[in-house]
Protein backbone atom coordinates (compact mmCIF):
# COMPACT_ATOMS: atom_id res chain seq x y z
CA UNK A 1 0.00 0.00 0.00
CA UNK A 2 1.42 3.35 -1.08
CA UNK A 3 2.20 5.95 1.59
CA UNK A 4 1.51 9.67 1.11
CA UNK A 5 4.22 11.10 -1.10
CA UNK A 6 6.22 13.53 1.02
CA UNK A 7 8.75 15.16 -1.34
CA UNK A 8 11.76 17.44 -1.40
CA UNK A 9 14.80 18.63 -3.36
CA UNK A 10 18.43 19.13 -2.32
CA UNK A 11 20.28 21.39 -4.72
CA UNK A 12 24.03 21.94 -4.80
CA UNK A 13 24.81 25.17 -6.59
CA UNK A 14 27.86 26.02 -8.66
CA UNK A 15 29.79 28.91 -7.10
CA UNK A 16 32.36 31.36 -8.46
CA UNK A 17 34.25 33.96 -6.43
CA UNK A 18 35.25 36.57 -8.96
CA UNK A 19 38.09 38.97 -8.40
CA UNK A 20 39.39 37.05 -5.36
CA UNK A 21 43.19 36.67 -5.31
CA UNK A 22 42.90 33.04 -4.15
CA UNK A 23 39.32 31.91 -4.63
CA UNK A 24 38.22 29.09 -2.35
CA UNK A 25 34.76 27.63 -2.97
CA UNK A 26 34.36 26.44 0.63
CA UNK A 27 34.99 29.83 2.20
CA UNK A 28 32.97 31.53 -0.55
CA UNK A 29 30.03 29.20 0.21
CA UNK A 30 30.32 29.91 3.94
CA UNK A 31 30.46 33.64 3.35
CA UNK A 32 27.44 33.46 1.04
CA UNK A 33 25.28 31.60 3.55
CA UNK A 34 26.41 33.59 6.59
CA UNK A 35 25.74 36.83 4.72
CA UNK A 36 22.17 35.65 4.11
CA UNK A 37 21.64 34.62 7.73
CA UNK A 38 22.88 37.98 8.98
CA UNK A 39 20.86 39.97 6.42
CA UNK A 40 17.65 38.10 7.30
CA UNK A 41 18.27 38.14 11.07
CA UNK A 42 18.48 34.36 11.23
CA UNK A 43 22.04 34.50 12.54
CA UNK A 44 22.47 33.94 16.28
CA UNK A 45 22.66 36.89 18.64
CA UNK A 46 26.14 37.61 20.01
CA UNK A 47 27.03 35.19 22.78
CA UNK A 48 24.63 32.49 21.57
CA UNK A 49 25.41 29.48 19.47
CA UNK A 50 23.64 29.16 16.12
CA UNK A 51 20.75 26.77 15.69
CA UNK A 52 22.86 23.94 14.43
CA UNK A 53 22.11 20.84 12.48
CA UNK A 54 21.74 17.76 14.65
CA UNK A 55 23.68 14.88 13.10
CA UNK A 56 22.79 12.18 15.61
CA UNK A 57 20.35 10.45 13.27
CA UNK A 58 22.36 10.71 10.04
CA UNK A 59 23.32 7.38 8.54
CA UNK A 60 24.04 7.96 4.84
CA UNK A 61 26.09 4.76 4.72
CA UNK A 62 23.07 2.48 5.20
CA UNK A 63 22.32 0.52 2.04
CA UNK A 64 18.73 -0.21 0.98
CA UNK A 65 19.85 -3.58 -0.37
CA UNK A 66 20.95 -4.52 3.15
CA UNK A 67 24.69 -4.87 3.74
CA UNK A 68 26.83 -2.73 1.45
CA UNK A 69 28.77 -4.66 -1.21
CA UNK A 70 32.53 -4.81 -0.81
CA UNK A 71 34.38 -1.88 -2.29
CA UNK A 72 31.53 0.60 -2.06
CA UNK A 73 32.24 3.87 -0.38
CA UNK A 74 29.89 5.26 2.22
CA UNK A 75 29.52 9.05 2.11
CA UNK A 76 31.04 10.94 5.01
CA UNK A 77 29.25 13.65 6.90
CA UNK A 78 30.92 17.00 7.24
CA UNK A 79 29.88 18.53 10.52
CA UNK A 80 32.18 21.50 10.87
CA UNK A 81 30.89 23.78 8.12
CA UNK A 82 28.02 26.28 8.08
CA UNK A 83 24.80 24.44 8.57
CA UNK A 84 21.65 26.42 9.17
CA UNK A 85 17.97 25.63 9.55
CA UNK A 86 15.74 28.33 8.08
CA UNK A 87 12.35 29.50 9.31
CA UNK A 88 10.72 28.00 6.21
CA UNK A 89 11.89 24.59 7.38
CA UNK A 90 14.71 24.33 4.82
CA UNK A 91 18.35 23.49 5.46
CA UNK A 92 21.01 25.84 4.01
CA UNK A 93 24.58 24.63 4.29
CA UNK A 94 28.00 24.07 2.81
CA UNK A 95 28.37 20.62 1.29
CA UNK A 96 31.81 19.72 -0.02
CA UNK A 97 32.69 22.84 -1.98
CA UNK A 98 29.18 24.05 -2.79
CA UNK A 99 26.37 25.95 -1.16
CA UNK A 100 23.44 23.57 -0.85
CA UNK A 101 19.81 24.17 -0.02
CA UNK A 102 17.41 21.38 0.90
CA UNK A 103 13.77 22.37 0.60
CA UNK A 104 11.45 21.63 3.49
CA UNK A 105 9.32 18.50 3.13
CA UNK A 106 6.49 19.18 0.68
CA UNK A 107 3.14 17.43 0.23
CA UNK A 108 2.89 17.75 -3.55
CA UNK A 109 4.83 18.65 -6.71
CA UNK A 110 3.45 22.17 -6.82
CA UNK A 111 4.67 22.87 -3.31
CA UNK A 112 8.12 21.59 -4.36
CA UNK A 113 8.14 24.19 -7.15
CA UNK A 114 7.22 26.92 -4.64
CA UNK A 115 10.13 25.97 -2.37
CA UNK A 116 12.56 25.40 -5.24
CA UNK A 117 11.79 28.89 -6.54
CA UNK A 118 12.10 30.21 -2.96
CA UNK A 119 15.56 28.59 -2.85
CA UNK A 120 16.55 30.49 -6.02
CA UNK A 121 15.37 33.72 -4.42
CA UNK A 122 17.32 32.88 -1.25
CA UNK A 123 20.43 32.33 -3.38
CA UNK A 124 19.88 35.67 -5.13
CA UNK A 125 19.38 37.44 -1.79
CA UNK A 126 22.51 35.72 -0.48
CA UNK A 127 24.58 37.05 -3.37
CA UNK A 128 23.32 40.60 -2.69
CA UNK A 129 24.08 40.23 1.00
CA UNK A 130 27.58 38.83 0.30
CA UNK A 131 28.27 41.80 -1.98
CA UNK A 132 27.97 44.11 1.04
CA UNK A 133 30.71 42.17 2.83
CA UNK A 134 33.17 41.74 -0.04
CA UNK A 135 35.97 44.12 -0.98
CA UNK A 136 35.37 46.22 -4.11
CA UNK A 137 36.03 44.30 -7.31
CA UNK A 138 34.96 40.96 -5.85
CA UNK A 139 31.69 39.13 -6.39
CA UNK A 140 30.25 35.73 -5.48
CA UNK A 141 28.03 34.24 -8.19
CA UNK A 142 25.80 31.19 -7.88
CA UNK A 143 24.72 28.90 -10.73
CA UNK A 144 21.92 26.32 -10.70
CA UNK A 145 23.41 23.69 -12.98
CA UNK A 146 25.09 20.30 -12.53
CA UNK A 147 28.38 20.40 -14.39
CA UNK A 148 31.31 22.72 -15.07
CA UNK A 149 31.79 21.26 -18.55
CA UNK A 150 35.17 19.89 -17.47
CA UNK A 151 34.17 16.60 -15.89
CA UNK A 152 33.05 17.86 -12.47
CA UNK A 153 29.47 17.38 -11.40
CA UNK A 154 27.31 18.38 -8.43
CA UNK A 155 23.80 17.24 -7.82
CA UNK A 156 20.18 18.15 -7.57
CA UNK A 157 18.80 15.29 -5.49
CA UNK A 158 15.14 14.39 -5.13
CA UNK A 159 13.49 12.63 -2.22
CA UNK A 160 10.31 10.56 -2.16
CA UNK A 161 8.80 8.90 0.89
CA UNK A 162 7.90 5.28 0.06
CA UNK A 163 6.63 2.33 2.01
CA UNK A 164 9.18 0.10 3.70
CA UNK A 165 7.02 -2.89 2.70
CA UNK A 166 7.78 -2.57 -1.02
CA UNK A 167 10.62 -4.83 -2.21
CA UNK A 168 13.59 -2.65 -3.16
CA UNK A 169 14.17 -4.62 -6.37
CA UNK A 170 10.74 -3.52 -7.62
CA UNK A 171 11.65 0.11 -6.93
CA UNK A 172 14.87 -0.38 -8.92
CA UNK A 173 13.00 -1.79 -11.93
CA UNK A 174 10.38 0.93 -12.33
CA UNK A 175 12.57 3.81 -11.17
CA UNK A 176 15.18 2.83 -13.78
CA UNK A 177 12.59 2.76 -16.58
CA UNK A 178 11.44 6.23 -15.57
CA UNK A 179 14.86 7.80 -14.94
CA UNK A 180 16.34 6.62 -18.24
CA UNK A 181 13.48 8.15 -20.21
CA UNK A 182 12.09 11.13 -18.23
CA UNK A 183 15.12 13.18 -19.33
CA UNK A 184 13.24 14.10 -22.49
CA UNK A 185 11.20 16.58 -20.45
CA UNK A 186 13.40 17.25 -17.40
CA UNK A 187 16.85 17.44 -18.99
CA UNK A 188 18.44 20.87 -18.56
CA UNK A 189 20.55 20.66 -21.74
CA UNK A 190 24.33 20.81 -22.09
CA UNK A 191 26.98 21.74 -24.63
CA UNK A 192 29.61 19.04 -25.03
CA UNK A 193 30.29 15.59 -23.66
CA UNK A 194 32.08 14.72 -20.43
CA UNK A 195 32.47 11.03 -20.97
CA UNK A 196 34.76 9.27 -23.40
CA UNK A 197 33.62 6.96 -26.13
CA UNK A 198 30.27 8.51 -26.95
CA UNK A 199 29.74 10.72 -29.93
CA UNK A 200 27.56 13.78 -30.03
CA UNK A 201 25.98 15.19 -33.15
CA UNK A 202 27.45 18.16 -34.98
CA UNK A 203 25.99 20.66 -32.55
CA UNK A 204 27.64 18.90 -29.64
CA UNK A 205 24.51 19.40 -27.56
CA UNK A 206 22.82 16.86 -25.32
CA UNK A 207 19.56 16.73 -23.37
CA UNK A 208 20.92 16.06 -19.86
CA UNK A 209 23.59 17.72 -17.74
CA UNK A 210 23.98 14.65 -15.65
CA UNK A 211 23.87 11.55 -17.91
CA UNK A 212 27.65 11.67 -18.56
CA UNK A 213 28.29 11.16 -14.84
CA UNK A 214 26.09 8.11 -14.30
CA UNK A 215 28.18 4.95 -14.40
CA UNK A 216 26.31 2.24 -12.46
CA UNK A 217 22.81 0.81 -12.40
CA UNK A 218 22.40 0.62 -8.61
CA UNK A 219 24.68 1.75 -5.79
CA UNK A 220 25.38 3.69 -2.64
CA UNK A 221 27.86 6.24 -3.98
CA UNK A 222 27.00 9.81 -4.88
CA UNK A 223 30.42 11.28 -5.67
CA UNK A 224 31.96 8.63 -7.91
CA UNK A 225 30.61 5.66 -9.81
CA UNK A 226 27.25 7.41 -9.54
CA UNK A 227 24.26 5.07 -10.01
CA UNK A 228 20.90 5.46 -11.76
CA UNK A 229 19.22 4.24 -8.57
CA UNK A 230 20.86 5.31 -5.33
CA UNK A 231 20.51 2.91 -2.41
CA UNK A 232 21.07 5.29 0.49
CA UNK A 233 18.73 3.99 3.16
CA UNK A 234 18.21 6.86 5.54
CA UNK A 235 14.50 7.54 5.85
CA UNK A 236 14.65 10.51 8.28
CA UNK A 237 11.36 9.04 9.52
CA UNK A 238 10.00 5.89 11.16
CA UNK A 239 12.31 3.33 9.57
CA UNK A 240 9.91 0.47 10.22
CA UNK A 241 7.29 2.12 8.00
CA UNK A 242 9.23 4.19 5.49
CA UNK A 243 12.01 4.38 2.99
CA UNK A 244 13.18 7.61 1.42
CA UNK A 245 14.04 7.10 -2.22
CA UNK A 246 17.07 9.36 -2.69
CA UNK A 247 17.37 10.20 -6.40
CA UNK A 248 20.67 11.54 -7.68
CA UNK A 249 20.27 11.02 -11.43
CA UNK A 250 18.37 14.21 -12.28
CA UNK A 251 19.30 17.69 -13.50
CA UNK A 252 18.56 20.92 -11.64
CA UNK A 253 15.88 22.73 -13.62
CA UNK A 254 15.40 26.42 -14.31
CA UNK A 255 11.96 25.76 -15.81
CA UNK A 256 9.23 25.45 -13.20
CA UNK A 257 7.25 23.22 -15.54
CA UNK A 258 10.21 20.83 -15.73
CA UNK A 259 10.61 20.69 -11.94
CA UNK A 260 6.85 20.20 -11.57
CA UNK A 261 6.90 17.27 -14.01
CA UNK A 262 10.16 15.76 -12.75
CA UNK A 263 8.85 15.48 -9.20
CA UNK A 264 5.18 14.94 -10.02
CA UNK A 265 5.70 12.09 -12.48
CA UNK A 266 8.26 10.36 -10.24
CA UNK A 267 5.89 10.55 -7.25
CA UNK A 268 3.23 8.85 -9.39
CA UNK A 269 5.65 6.16 -10.60
CA UNK A 270 6.67 5.47 -6.99
CA UNK A 271 3.06 5.21 -5.77
CA UNK A 272 2.30 2.80 -8.62
CA UNK A 273 5.39 0.79 -7.72
CA UNK A 274 4.28 0.50 -4.10
CA UNK A 275 0.83 -0.69 -5.18
CA UNK A 276 2.30 -2.96 -7.87
CA UNK A 277 0.19 -1.12 -10.43
CA UNK A 278 2.68 -0.77 -13.31
CA UNK A 279 1.33 -3.15 -15.98
CA UNK A 280 4.71 -4.29 -17.28
CA UNK A 281 8.38 -4.06 -16.45
CA UNK A 282 10.35 -1.97 -18.94
CA UNK A 283 13.83 -3.49 -18.50
CA UNK A 284 16.67 -2.12 -20.60
CA UNK A 285 19.45 -4.47 -21.70
CA UNK A 286 22.05 -1.86 -20.71
CA UNK A 287 20.39 0.87 -18.61
CA UNK A 288 23.48 3.10 -18.26
CA UNK A 289 24.14 3.08 -22.01
CA UNK A 290 20.42 3.68 -22.63
CA UNK A 291 20.47 6.69 -20.28
CA UNK A 292 23.37 8.23 -22.20
CA UNK A 293 21.82 7.36 -25.55
CA UNK A 294 18.58 9.13 -24.63
CA UNK A 295 20.57 12.18 -23.55
CA UNK A 296 22.23 12.30 -26.99
CA UNK A 297 19.19 11.61 -29.15
CA UNK A 298 17.64 15.00 -29.89
CA UNK A 299 15.32 13.27 -32.39
CA UNK A 300 13.76 11.31 -29.48
CA UNK A 301 13.25 8.50 -31.96
CA UNK A 302 16.09 6.03 -31.34
CA UNK A 303 15.02 2.55 -30.24
CA UNK A 304 16.33 1.32 -26.88
CA UNK A 305 16.87 -2.41 -26.43
CA UNK A 306 14.85 -4.27 -23.82
CA UNK A 307 15.79 -7.58 -22.21
CA UNK A 308 12.82 -9.33 -23.86
CA UNK A 309 14.39 -8.63 -27.26
CA UNK A 310 11.98 -5.85 -28.23
CA UNK A 311 12.76 -2.14 -28.36
CA UNK A 312 11.08 1.03 -27.12
CA UNK A 313 11.77 4.74 -27.58
CA UNK A 314 12.08 7.12 -24.63
CA UNK A 315 8.80 8.70 -25.73
CA UNK A 316 7.19 5.28 -25.99
CA UNK A 317 8.24 4.39 -22.44
CA UNK A 318 6.89 7.71 -21.15
CA UNK A 319 3.53 7.26 -22.93
CA UNK A 320 3.30 3.84 -21.34
CA UNK A 321 4.05 5.15 -17.84
CA UNK A 322 1.59 8.01 -18.34
CA UNK A 323 -1.18 5.59 -19.34
CA UNK A 324 -0.43 3.46 -16.28
CA UNK A 325 -0.49 6.54 -14.03
CA UNK A 326 -3.85 7.70 -15.46
CA UNK A 327 -5.35 4.27 -14.85
CA UNK A 328 -3.86 4.20 -11.35
CA UNK A 329 -5.36 7.55 -10.37
CA UNK A 330 -8.71 6.59 -11.90
CA UNK A 331 -8.97 3.43 -9.81
CA UNK A 332 -7.30 4.49 -6.57
CA UNK A 333 -7.78 8.25 -6.52
CA UNK A 334 -5.06 10.85 -6.10
CA UNK A 335 -5.12 11.45 -2.34
CA UNK A 336 -1.69 9.91 -1.72
CA UNK A 337 0.03 11.67 -4.64
CA UNK A 338 -0.98 15.28 -4.14
CA UNK A 339 -4.74 15.33 -4.86
CA UNK A 340 -5.70 17.89 -7.51
CA UNK A 341 -2.04 18.54 -8.18
CA UNK A 342 -1.68 14.94 -9.41
CA UNK A 343 -4.38 15.60 -12.02
CA UNK A 344 -2.49 18.70 -13.14
CA UNK A 345 0.68 16.62 -13.38
CA UNK A 346 -1.09 14.05 -15.57
CA UNK A 347 -2.46 16.73 -17.91
CA UNK A 348 0.89 18.50 -18.19
CA UNK A 349 2.68 15.20 -18.71
CA UNK A 350 0.37 14.32 -21.59
CA UNK A 351 0.61 17.78 -23.18
CA UNK A 352 4.40 17.77 -23.00
CA UNK A 353 4.77 14.28 -24.43
CA UNK A 354 2.43 15.32 -27.26
CA UNK A 355 4.55 18.41 -27.89
CA UNK A 356 7.77 16.41 -27.89
CA UNK A 357 6.27 13.96 -30.35
CA UNK A 358 4.95 16.58 -32.79
CA UNK A 359 7.63 19.26 -32.55
CA UNK A 360 9.99 19.69 -29.57
CA UNK A 361 10.63 23.34 -30.51
CA UNK A 362 7.01 24.05 -29.52
CA UNK A 363 8.09 23.51 -25.90
CA UNK A 364 10.69 26.29 -25.75
CA UNK A 365 8.69 27.96 -22.96
CA UNK A 366 8.42 24.81 -20.85
CA UNK A 367 11.37 22.48 -21.22
CA UNK A 368 14.90 23.60 -20.32
CA UNK A 369 16.87 21.67 -22.93
CA UNK A 370 14.58 22.99 -25.68
CA UNK A 371 14.65 26.56 -24.35
CA UNK A 372 18.45 26.56 -24.11
CA UNK A 373 18.91 25.02 -27.56
CA UNK A 374 16.70 27.75 -29.03
CA UNK A 375 18.95 30.41 -27.50
CA UNK A 376 22.09 28.64 -28.66
CA UNK A 377 20.84 28.22 -32.25
CA UNK A 378 19.52 31.77 -32.43
CA UNK A 379 22.73 33.27 -31.04
CA UNK A 380 24.90 31.10 -33.26
CA UNK A 381 23.07 32.02 -36.42
CA UNK A 382 22.93 35.74 -35.55
CA UNK A 383 26.70 35.89 -35.07
CA UNK A 384 27.66 33.18 -37.58
CA UNK A 385 29.52 31.11 -34.98
CA UNK A 386 30.94 27.60 -35.06
CA UNK A 387 29.47 25.22 -32.52
CA UNK A 388 32.88 25.21 -30.79
CA UNK A 389 32.75 28.96 -30.08
CA UNK A 390 33.35 29.84 -26.43
CA UNK A 391 30.40 32.24 -26.49
CA UNK A 392 28.03 29.28 -26.86
CA UNK A 393 29.62 27.56 -23.86
CA UNK A 394 29.31 30.81 -21.92
CA UNK A 395 25.65 31.04 -22.88
CA UNK A 396 25.13 27.48 -21.64
CA UNK A 397 26.57 28.32 -18.20
CA UNK A 398 24.88 31.69 -17.96
CA UNK A 399 21.47 30.15 -18.64
CA UNK A 400 21.77 28.90 -15.03
CA UNK A 401 23.07 32.15 -13.46
CA UNK A 402 20.84 33.02 -10.48
CA UNK A 403 21.52 36.76 -10.58
CA UNK A 404 18.31 38.32 -11.93
CA UNK A 405 20.35 40.84 -13.92
CA UNK A 406 22.36 38.11 -15.66
CA UNK A 407 20.22 34.98 -15.79
CA UNK A 408 19.44 33.90 -19.34
CA UNK A 409 16.77 31.43 -18.19
CA UNK A 410 14.96 34.38 -16.59
CA UNK A 411 14.88 36.02 -20.04
CA UNK A 412 13.90 32.95 -22.04
CA UNK A 413 10.13 33.44 -21.61
CA UNK A 414 9.67 30.32 -19.47
CA UNK A 415 6.15 29.65 -18.19
CA UNK A 416 5.68 29.69 -14.44
CA UNK A 417 3.73 27.27 -12.29
CA UNK A 418 3.60 29.36 -9.13
CA UNK A 419 3.19 33.05 -8.34
CA UNK A 420 6.35 34.94 -7.52
CA UNK A 421 4.66 36.41 -4.41
CA UNK A 422 3.98 32.90 -3.12
CA UNK A 423 7.63 31.92 -3.61
CA UNK A 424 8.74 35.11 -1.81
CA UNK A 425 6.57 34.20 1.17
CA UNK A 426 8.03 30.70 1.09
CA UNK A 427 11.52 32.14 1.72
CA UNK A 428 10.49 32.50 5.37
CA UNK A 429 7.18 30.61 5.79
CA UNK A 430 7.11 26.81 6.06
CA UNK A 431 4.70 24.68 4.03
CA UNK A 432 1.48 24.17 6.04
CA UNK A 433 0.96 20.53 5.24
CA UNK A 434 4.02 18.56 6.42
CA UNK A 435 6.12 18.35 9.61
CA UNK A 436 8.23 21.20 8.16
CA UNK A 437 5.48 23.46 9.52
CA UNK A 438 6.39 22.47 13.07
CA UNK A 439 10.12 22.96 12.43
CA UNK A 440 9.61 26.33 10.77
CA UNK A 441 7.25 27.67 13.43
CA UNK A 442 9.62 26.59 16.22
CA UNK A 443 12.39 28.60 14.57
CA UNK A 444 10.14 31.59 13.91
CA UNK A 445 8.79 31.69 17.44
CA UNK A 446 11.36 30.11 19.75
CA UNK A 447 14.75 30.24 17.99
CA UNK A 448 16.43 31.30 21.25
CA UNK A 449 15.45 28.00 22.90
CA UNK A 450 16.18 25.73 19.92
CA UNK A 451 19.66 24.22 20.27
CA UNK A 452 19.62 22.01 17.20
CA UNK A 453 17.25 20.63 14.60
CA UNK A 454 17.24 18.05 11.87
CA UNK A 455 14.67 16.40 9.62
CA UNK A 456 13.03 14.31 12.31
CA UNK A 457 13.69 16.06 15.61
CA UNK A 458 14.19 19.39 17.35
CA UNK A 459 16.24 19.86 20.50
CA UNK A 460 15.23 22.58 22.99
CA UNK A 461 17.09 24.10 25.90
CA UNK A 462 14.51 25.79 28.11
CA UNK A 463 16.84 26.18 31.06
CA UNK A 464 15.58 23.23 33.07
CA UNK A 465 18.94 21.57 33.31
CA UNK A 466 18.53 19.03 30.56
CA UNK A 467 17.89 19.30 26.85
CA UNK A 468 14.49 18.27 25.51
CA UNK A 469 14.23 16.49 22.19
CA UNK A 470 10.96 16.55 20.26
CA UNK A 471 10.83 13.69 17.83
CA UNK A 472 9.03 14.04 14.48
CA UNK A 473 9.27 10.64 12.84
CA UNK A 474 5.96 11.03 11.00
CA UNK A 475 6.49 13.42 8.04
CA UNK A 476 2.77 14.04 7.59
CA UNK A 477 2.28 15.17 11.21
CA UNK A 478 3.14 18.53 12.76
CA UNK A 479 1.10 20.36 10.10
CA UNK A 480 -0.89 23.54 10.59
CA UNK A 481 -3.98 21.35 11.05
CA UNK A 482 -2.28 19.42 13.87
CA UNK A 483 -0.34 22.09 15.72
CA UNK A 484 -1.36 25.49 14.27
CA UNK A 485 -3.63 26.41 17.20
CA UNK A 486 -1.08 25.13 19.69
CA UNK A 487 1.47 27.65 18.40
CA UNK A 488 -1.15 30.41 18.55
CA UNK A 489 -1.85 29.57 22.18
CA UNK A 490 1.72 29.07 23.44
CA UNK A 491 3.64 32.12 24.57
CA UNK A 492 6.93 30.33 25.18
CA UNK A 493 8.91 27.22 24.31
CA UNK A 494 8.18 25.84 27.80
CA UNK A 495 4.45 26.22 27.14
CA UNK A 496 4.85 24.44 23.83
CA UNK A 497 6.80 21.53 25.33
CA UNK A 498 4.26 21.20 28.12
CA UNK A 499 1.39 21.10 25.64
CA UNK A 500 3.21 18.58 23.45
CA UNK A 501 3.89 16.41 26.49
CA UNK A 502 0.26 16.57 27.53
CA UNK A 503 -0.88 15.73 24.00
CA UNK A 504 1.52 12.82 23.87
CA UNK A 505 2.83 14.08 20.53
Amino acid sequence: MAVPKTLGLETEYGIVHRGAPEPNPISASSLLINAYLIATHQAPEPGRAAVGWDFTDETPGNDARGGAPAGSLAPEIETHLVNAVLTNGARYYVDHAHPELSTPECADARSVVVYDRAAELIAARSMEAAQMLLPPGEEIVVYKNNSDGKGNSYGCHENYLVSRAVPFSRIVTHATAHFVTRQIFCGAGKMGSETSGMRLDEAGYQISQRADFIEEEVGLETTLKRPIVNTRDEPHADAAKYRRLHVIVGDANMSQVATFLKVGTTALVMAMTEDDAVPREIRFTTPVAALRQVSRDLSLREPLELVDGSTITALGAQWELLAAARAYVETRGADLVGGDVAHQVLDRWEAVLGGLERDPTSLAAQIDWVAKLRLLEGFRSRHGLDWEDARLRALDIQYHDLRPAKSLAARAGLETVVDEAEAERAMTEPPPDTRAFFRGRCLQRFAAEVVAANWDSIVFDVGEGSLRRVSMTEPTRGTVAHVGTMFDECGSAIDLLRRLGAAGA
Binding site: H96, D148, N152, Y154, D340, Q344, D389, A390, L395, I397
Partner: protein, 64 residues
Amino acid sequence: MAEREQIRKPAPANREQSVEEAPPASERGSDIKAQLDDLLDEIDEVLETNAEDFVKSYIQKGGE
Protein backbone atom coordinates in the same frame (compact mmCIF):
# COMPACT_ATOMS: atom_id res chain seq x y z
CA MET B 1 -6.26 25.30 -0.86
CA ALA B 2 -8.48 26.70 -3.64
CA GLU B 3 -5.94 29.33 -4.65
CA ARG B 4 -3.28 26.68 -5.19
CA GLU B 5 -4.87 25.16 -8.26
CA GLN B 6 -4.04 27.15 -11.33
CA ILE B 7 -1.11 26.39 -13.54
CA ARG B 8 -0.42 29.64 -15.27
CA LYS B 9 -0.59 29.80 -19.01
CA PRO B 10 1.92 31.71 -21.10
CA ALA B 11 2.00 35.49 -21.25
CA PRO B 12 -1.43 37.12 -21.64
CA ALA B 13 -0.55 38.36 -25.12
CA ASN B 14 -0.31 34.78 -26.36
CA ARG B 15 -3.55 33.80 -24.72
CA GLU B 16 -5.54 36.61 -26.35
CA GLN B 17 -4.12 35.66 -29.66
CA SER B 18 -5.31 32.06 -29.42
CA VAL B 19 -8.82 33.20 -28.46
CA GLU B 20 -9.13 35.46 -31.46
CA GLU B 21 -8.77 34.11 -34.92
CA ALA B 22 -5.36 32.59 -35.41
CA PRO B 23 -3.23 34.83 -37.63
CA PRO B 24 -1.83 33.32 -40.83
CA ALA B 25 1.18 31.09 -40.33
CA SER B 26 3.59 33.57 -41.90
CA GLU B 27 2.48 36.29 -39.48
CA ARG B 28 2.86 33.95 -36.50
CA GLY B 29 6.28 33.02 -37.78
CA SER B 30 7.38 36.64 -37.92
CA ASP B 31 6.00 37.23 -34.41
CA ILE B 32 8.08 34.39 -33.08
CA LYS B 33 11.10 35.68 -34.95
CA ALA B 34 10.62 39.17 -33.50
CA GLN B 35 10.43 37.69 -29.99
CA LEU B 36 13.62 35.74 -30.54
CA ASP B 37 15.34 38.84 -31.94
CA ASP B 38 14.45 40.82 -28.81
CA LEU B 39 15.72 37.99 -26.68
CA LEU B 40 18.99 37.80 -28.63
CA ASP B 41 19.41 41.57 -28.25
CA GLU B 42 19.18 41.07 -24.50
CA ILE B 43 21.64 38.20 -24.56
CA ASP B 44 24.08 40.37 -26.51
CA GLU B 45 23.79 42.89 -23.69
CA VAL B 46 24.20 40.61 -20.69
CA LEU B 47 26.41 37.76 -21.93
CA GLU B 48 29.78 37.57 -20.18
CA THR B 49 32.09 39.80 -22.16
CA ASN B 50 35.20 37.67 -22.20
CA ALA B 51 33.54 34.36 -22.98
CA GLU B 52 36.74 32.38 -23.37
CA ASP B 53 38.15 33.38 -19.96
CA PHE B 54 34.76 32.99 -18.33
CA VAL B 55 34.31 29.45 -19.62
CA LYS B 56 37.89 28.50 -18.77
CA SER B 57 37.65 29.79 -15.23
CA TYR B 58 34.29 28.16 -14.55
CA ILE B 59 35.75 25.23 -12.60
CA GLN B 60 33.84 23.46 -9.85
CA LYS B 61 34.80 20.78 -7.39
CA GLY B 62 32.76 17.61 -7.68
CA GLY B 63 29.97 17.57 -5.16
CA GLU B 64 27.41 15.43 -3.33
